[in-house]
């Protein structure tokens, strides 16, 4: 039997978090077809939003790449960030086995009962930060956030706005893509 001599990354089926009532991006800002729910409408500075619980599948990829399309009401400063965290869970039930006070449903995220957002996100998996540019609506900013390797089948995305500006008042163009990076061995 010949030994495999190459491993390549194959893009799997994307998960796209967006708002079901609003999401209808122009082609230039379309990160993919919406699969799961998060409503980023008017997310204020220093506030966070959590997504509905996502099922990565019984057989999931080793790693996932996260990109986001965000739109700001007022141009943020260059280099300020919106920070992304993953709340892994071994349960398909929204409210079960979630770290950091995450609910498993699309809602504002305020951390645990006894702690702040800053303190609570330490119990989550940090994915990366969306580094902003000085562009306001109607410009849609698309940026790489990071890659991560989820250790459980399920999870929720937490988006923490530290950009000093609120996100736009509709979520037509805003989404988060989670792209599976499947490793394929080629003989």
């Amino acid at each position: 039997m010949a030994l495999p001599d190459t491993a390549v990354v194959q893009v799997g089926t994307q998960i796209v978090l967006a708002d079901t009532t609003d999401y209808s991006p122009t082609a230039a800002n379309n990160l993919g077809t919406r699969t799961d729910q998060i409503d980023l409408t008017s997310l204020a500075n220093a506030a966070a939003r959590q997504s509905a619980k996502v099922d990565l599948g019984a057989s999931r990829a080793f790693g996932y790449n996260v990109m986001a399309a965000l739109e700001f009401a007022v141009a943020p400063g260059d280099g300020v960030t919106v920070d992304f965290y993953w709340a892994p869970s071994n349960s398909a039930t929204a409210g079960t086995n979630n770290p950091g006070g995450v609910s498993g449903s699309d809602a504002a995220y305020t951390g645990t009962t006894g702690s702040t957002i800053d303190e609570s996100v330490l119990q989550l998996q940090y994915i990366g930060s969306f580094s902003c540019t000085n562009d306001a609506t109607t410009a849609v900013q698309i940026a790489q956030v990071g890659t991560f390797a989820p250790q459980e089948r399920y999870g929720s995305m937490v988006v923490y706005n530290n950009a000093g500006q609120a996100l736009h008042s509709d979520a037509v163009e805003m989404s988060i893509s989670i792209t599976p990076l499947d490793y394929v061995v080629i003989d």
Partner: protein
């Protein structure tokens, strides 16, 4: 320095009650960067500084007046300044008393040092400051600026 819950509430209430057009406009769209900028602008409310470095107060000294200090007054000055190495906390009434005791009324050094100890508070600092706040009778800061967008955001989101 982190704010207490009561201080967050005070800040949030102040922002919401502020009728300055720039503040009202920034609040309406939650432009927290602009709100932080506006709350970091100087007001006409005077406060005592909490830290004046030796480099700063050295420039306020009139050396001929230092030369005429008697031994007791010179010792006061040395102790207040930790032999010219320590920062001066002008918000501490005892430090101001030390300056006044070391340098007599009418001396230029005394006037210079007391003047150096004053500054205009930012709006954020004024919200929490106590006292009269005039140039003759500065107030005392409870919180010092600058206020960050994060503090503004937390106040408005949670209080």
């Amino acid at each position: 320095m982190s704010l207490t819950n009561a201080q967050y509430t005070t800040l949030a209430n102040h922002i919401r009650a502020n009728i300055e057009p720039e503040v009202v406009a920034a609040l309406a769209i939650r432009n927290d960067t602009e709100l932080a900028k506006l709350y970091n602008l100087d007001t006409d409310f005077y406060v005592w500084k909490t830290s004046i470095t030796p480099d700063e107060y050295r420039s306020a000294m009139v050396w001929t007046e230092v030369d005429t200090l008697n031994a007791g007054n010179a010792r006061i000055w040395e102790w207040v300044t930790n032999y010219f190495t320590g920062n001066l906390d002008a918000s501490d009434a005892n430090v101001r008393q030390g300056i006044a005791d070391a340098f007599g009324a009418g001396t230029t050094t005394r006037a210079n040092l007391l003047e150096l100890g004053k500054k205009l508070a930012s709006l954020y600092e004024e919200v929490f400051a106590t006292g009269t706040g005039t140039e003759a009778t500065p107030g005392t800061m409870v919180l010092q600026g600058p206020v960050t967008t994060k503090i503004i955001g937390k106040a408005l989101n949670e209080y």
